[in-house]
Symmetry: C2
Subunit: 492 residues, 2 copies
């Protein structure tokens, strides 16, 4: 449902969560694949509205629509395979020491209504029917989406489609709702007693504000906030010497694509000192200067980008490598690159903050020791890239060892942008990249956020959740007395 | 190592975490089973010291020693089965839409040094070699145990055994350390940059203090705090009528065992109004009055118990059912029961706080509606019990539906005490029972707290963590292109 009335909406979401319908995997799968089909069917209309609201390029929005539909279909499969339940059954053991063991069964069950705060930069894939909504619905958790001021029309159109599919499938109205509200309403939503978890993608400031609301509750709830990062890209001496143009082209793409408005945009590029590094830096600057970044999402984001550029330009340790160099189409953002060295970079706090837009800082390092030491002191990141040569085994190992503790994803020979939606994806890293680095907001394991384990001891079969019943009515994989099986249980 | 020097200790723990030794499952398994063997071998000495420090009964401490040893052995198995890695591999798919998919591999890897704050009421099972330490070491995370003021001697003895086993197995000294310190040192430990997670069992106040220290860090870390609960026990009209003595005996045991100093002690007992309920209440009061509770853990806990009893006695809506009724052995705690009704209970905040010791409150309910409504408004709990009859199917279903959202574990026909250590156990529930209800601190899944997912994209095989390498050198179960397998990967 689409509404401005918070109480009506949370009550409906709570009812939907308690309804047996959302407990049926096949209905959840029908819902998710139905939304995918509806989005494809109304694709032209959705693309038109999303383009008008976001100023993103047509190819990008079309690709995003397809990604969103496939993501919904992936979660339809996850709704039925039931892996997220992590169902574990230990049958009674009267001979267990020091005391006999009862029948114990544990499954992760849906938390209940989830508040989803989508992102401005992905009106579809991180929007009303995006990964947060899809993964919550896959588990059986109802969703309340807060409409995003940057794409209200897209949100409303998609929410209307979802409502239609919910009705078709026969699920309760409160399975999904769209809330039109501002900042105050967002706080009220997070503090609503029926809401059990929050999923958010956006700025650090907004993420921390929501976390504050959640902490103010009598019973705090988890806030899964993905707040962006600088995504360092390391160019090794080998890569700079052997294939400067190729690496520069890959990285320029990462910096410029979607006008740099991606949470995985490479914002810091580590480049060796010396002539090969300088040649690489020139190549990157030339490619960035030659690229069309396109317009930014909104006038507000454009203003913030301009102020960020002014702040960076004012820092004496940063040398501009690329900037106002040629006429660009009206309204297009100007890409910016600055350069500095590790010694200076370590003392400039500003460069650790994300510049949202087509901009990056090159940091020149003297040698492997300086590079690894700098990375060791870097704050938590969603992702990082390594551009290197096979001959650099020791450096590669050193980089993996340094990056693993601070990153959610380590990428070889590609920019960090382009987050594949699959089971093995991890989109989340140590603070400040996310508030809780145990989770991902992209890929199959995104469901982990919306379930909570509950154990049942000596519980009669008929009162157990379906995931734990003897006959295994969901047909899911379970760990029974330490053995992985889909077999039913026959009690002796 | 055993020390008072925090910096020495955190540096050693950090080194141990980076050492390849802890990355080898068979060494971790040898460590854990070695500690179990050493504890059994020195069992008499450990039992003597732990009894002297805790005043717990000999049988209880002997049982706890065996439980602790078996728990270590269970985690030795978990160290090698590698399930906690949740290894997922998606092989490249050049035909994926909207963009080709790279090689993506995701595994949960050890966070790094973990600070463990054990509990006063379980000097062994939640002590220096208890479940938190065992589950952290199983993943390869080094442990820094803070010595507990209630059982410093036990801690020191066990830590010495651990040091010996670490040396025997050939792991780094910093794999486990014992820190002797007070409250200030505890805060410094949580704020130490090398510490990546905190595991705590104890009071709400102490848990929240540690969480405050963690939030004060530049980069916050997770605090897995288990802070106790009231563990409501529901006696249905059927159970009260059909088998009052049996249920009273089970519940009296739960209230009295270990002098009521268990985080799963049933602190609230829901009993029907009317004659059958009254007869049950009388039976329970008689059994509690007749039982010997034994002495409390310490003079401090005894003082706090006495003050709690005074506070409860002063509440006019609470009728004492059991209390100072007979002479007890010197130093033994006097069990206490009070009775009230749902209407009064809802307005008395004090009864929602745990009374640590052999005491409980009976709450008389008029009918199923009043009972379910009361439970629906109850705060988060570790566990809850249902004593009922087969004929009460509708009420049983209603109880399961109401208790599931607020509990970590639902127990049929037994008190909530007696937490079996097995894969399906869940010891953790919604706030305020724990700070993060996604996790358990008892049972095989306790490892989940100390690992964090990292994805590797197009990473050359030799730089991948062992869990993700083609040949599957750990021999663990993995999800490869959606299929569960232990087979190695042969790249085309």
């Amino acid at each position: 449902m689409i509404t401005r009335d918070l109480e009506e909406l949370t009550a409906a979401a709570s009812d939907a969560g308690a309804d047996p319908g959302l407990g049926r995997p096949e209905l959840r799968a029908s819902l998710l694949s139905g939304i995918a089909a509806a989005m494809r069917e109304r694709g032209e209309e959705i693309v038109a509205v999303a383009r008008r609201e976001s100023h993103l390029a047509e190819a990008r929005i079309r690709g995003e629509l397809e990604r969103t539909a496939r993501q919904l279909e992936m979660f339809a499969g996850i709704a039925t395979d039931g892996d997220f339940h992590d169902a574990v059954i230990d049958l009674p053991d009267p001979d267990a020491k020091p005391i006999p063991r009862p029948d114990l069964r544990r499954a992760r069950l849906p938390r209940g209504p989830v508040a989803v705060f989508g992102a401005g930069n992905f009106p579809l894939a991180f929007g009303v029917a995006g990964g947060d909504t899809a993964s919550a619905l896959a588990t059986g958790s109802p969703v309340i989406s807060k409409s995003h001021s940057g794409h209200t029309g897209t949100d409303e159109l998609v929410a209307t489609l979802i409502d239609e599919v919910i009705a078709d499938v026969g699920l309760p109205t409160g399975t999904h709702s769209l809330l039109h509200t501002g900042h105050d309403g967002a706080g009220e939503l997070v503090r609503a007693p029926e809401v059990t978890a929050v999923a958010f993608t956006g700025s650090t400031a907004a993420g921390l504000t929501l976390a504050g609301h959640a902490a103010d509750r009598d019973a705090p709830i988890p806030v899964f906030a993905e707040m962006g990062s600088s995504n360092p890209a390391v160019v090794t001496p080998g890569a700079a010497a052997e294939r400067p143009e190729e690496v520069a082209s890959l990285l320029a793409g990462g910096i410029i694509n979607s006008a740099g408005q991606l949470c995985t945009k490479p914002g810091l590029v580590l480049v060796p000192a010396g002539p090969a590094g300088s040649a690489f830096a020139d190549a990157l600057a030339a490619q960035v200067a030659a690229a069309d970044a396109g317009p930014l999402l909104s006038a507000g984001i454009s203003d913030r980008y301009d102020s960020s550029v002014e702040e960076m330009d004012a820092i004496s340790e940063l040398t501009p490598l690329s900037g106002e160099d040629r006429d660009r189409p009206d309204g297009d953002a100007t890409p910016h690159l600055w350069s500095t060295d590790v010694a200076s970079a370590s003392s400039i706090d500003r460069i650790r903050e994300e510049v949202f837009g087509p901009a990056a800082v090159l940091i020149r390092y003297e040698d492997a020791t300086e590079l690894l030491s700098f990375l060791g002191g870097t704050e938590g990141q969603l992702s990082a890239s390594i551009f290197s040569e096979e001959s650099e085994a020791e450096l590669r190992q050193g980089l993996v060892d340094r990056l693993t503790p601070i990153c959610g994803r380590i990428v070889f020979d590609a920019p960090t942008t382009g987050v594949a939606v699959c089971m093995a994806q991890q989109h989340g890293g140590p603070y400040p990249a996310t508030l809780d680095d145990s989770y991902t907001s992209v890929g199959g394991r995104a469901t982990d956020r919306f379930v909570r384990p509950v154990a049942f001891q000596d519980c009669p079969d008929r009162f157990l959740p379906a995931a734990l019943r003897d006959e295994n009515p969901l047909g899911i994989w379970r760990l029974v007395d330490g053995r992985r099986t889909r077999d039913p249980i026959t009690r002796g």
